[in-house]
């Protein structure tokens, strides 16, 4: 779990410090996944695990960014509306 706290990692990276066969290690990972603490995705033969907490933090950041994007976009529109209404001949 500590290792996952640093970022997503593959199953083999995670199992390295443990003196355990990979199938037994996978069983432990499955329990963590069922608990919702960890999620994993498979690409080819490599399975990568992610701490859900990080995913949540990434989502929160994305929502904040979307808010900042709309806020900035609309400040541009405020200025444009000001220009269009202040100058009847257009610009």
């Amino acid at each position: 779990m500590q290792k996952l706290g640093e970022g997503p990692a593959t199953v083999s990276e995670l199992s390295e410090p443990f003196d355990m066969a990979l199938p037994s290690f996978m069983k432990h990972m499955r329990v963590l996944e069922e608990s919702g603490l960890v999620s994993s995705s498979k690409s080819g033969r490599v399975r990568t695990c992610t701490l859900e907490q990080q995913k949540l933090a990434a989502a929160e950041r994305w929502f904040d960014e979307q808010r900042a994007l709309w806020s900035s976009r609309y400040e541009n529109l405020d200025k444009l509306l000001e220009q269009l209404q202040g100058d009847d001949n257009g610009s």
Binding site: K55, A58, A59, R61, W62, F63, D64, E65, Q66, R67, A68, L69, W70, S71, S72, R73, Y74, E75, N76, L77, D78, K79, L80, L81, E82, L84, Q85
Partner: protein, 167 residues
């Protein structure tokens, strides 16, 4: 800006929607024009410090807007907005999609539906945009892509810029 203009941004994770409500100091027809004419869209749609460039615009049902948001160092992020329903000057519905420069929609990326409505608020105009994704998984895909494409770092610079502007 003299008076404070209303701005609400609401995320609904269960429904996978973003709702943006914003008041503008202008009549409805003018605010509508700014949303539906490419020469005007090019002047405001991309957040600072990005700029907007239109490649194609046909504002009619079945038509589309193909544009890029361009970073100061020249990196272009292409998108396409397909107009599904238009009710001048009340509302329109679009399907948003990630594209490349040719305008072909990336089939691996989720598309979101935008419902944009315009209403009078005294002499001002209220614009409500509801962005619908099909599922929480689709939202996650967009988040993941944002990180991969480096759009996130651009927006983090934007966050910093906004902080300095507020300070």
């Amino acid at each position: 800006m003299a008076a404070k203009l209303q701005f609400d941004f609401v995320v609904n994770k269960e429904k996978s929607t973003l709702t943006v409500v914003r008041e503008f100091a202008g009549p409805r027809q003018l605010v509508w024009d700014c949303h539906t004419q490419s020469t005007l869209l090019d002047r405001w749609f991309a957040p600072k410090p990005l700029s907007t460039k239109t490649k194609h615009m046909e504002f009619r049902e079945g038509g589309y807007w193909h544009y890029a948001m361009i970073t100061p160092d020249g990196q272009a992020y292409w998108s396409r907005v397909d107009y599904q329903a238009i009710r001048p000057i009340d509302s329109y519905t679009t399907l948003d999609g990630f594209t490349d420069e040719t305008g072909i929609v990336n089939p691996d990326m989720p598309r979101s539906r935008w419902d944009v409505t315009f209403s009078d608020l005294r002499e001002h105009t209220l614009v409500t945009t509801v962005v619908h994704y099909n599922s929480p998984e689709d939202v996650q895909k967009v988040i993941d892509m944002g990180m991969k494409e480096g759009m996130t770092s651009t927006l983090e610079r934007l966050d910093e810029l906004l902080l300095t502007l507020r300070a």
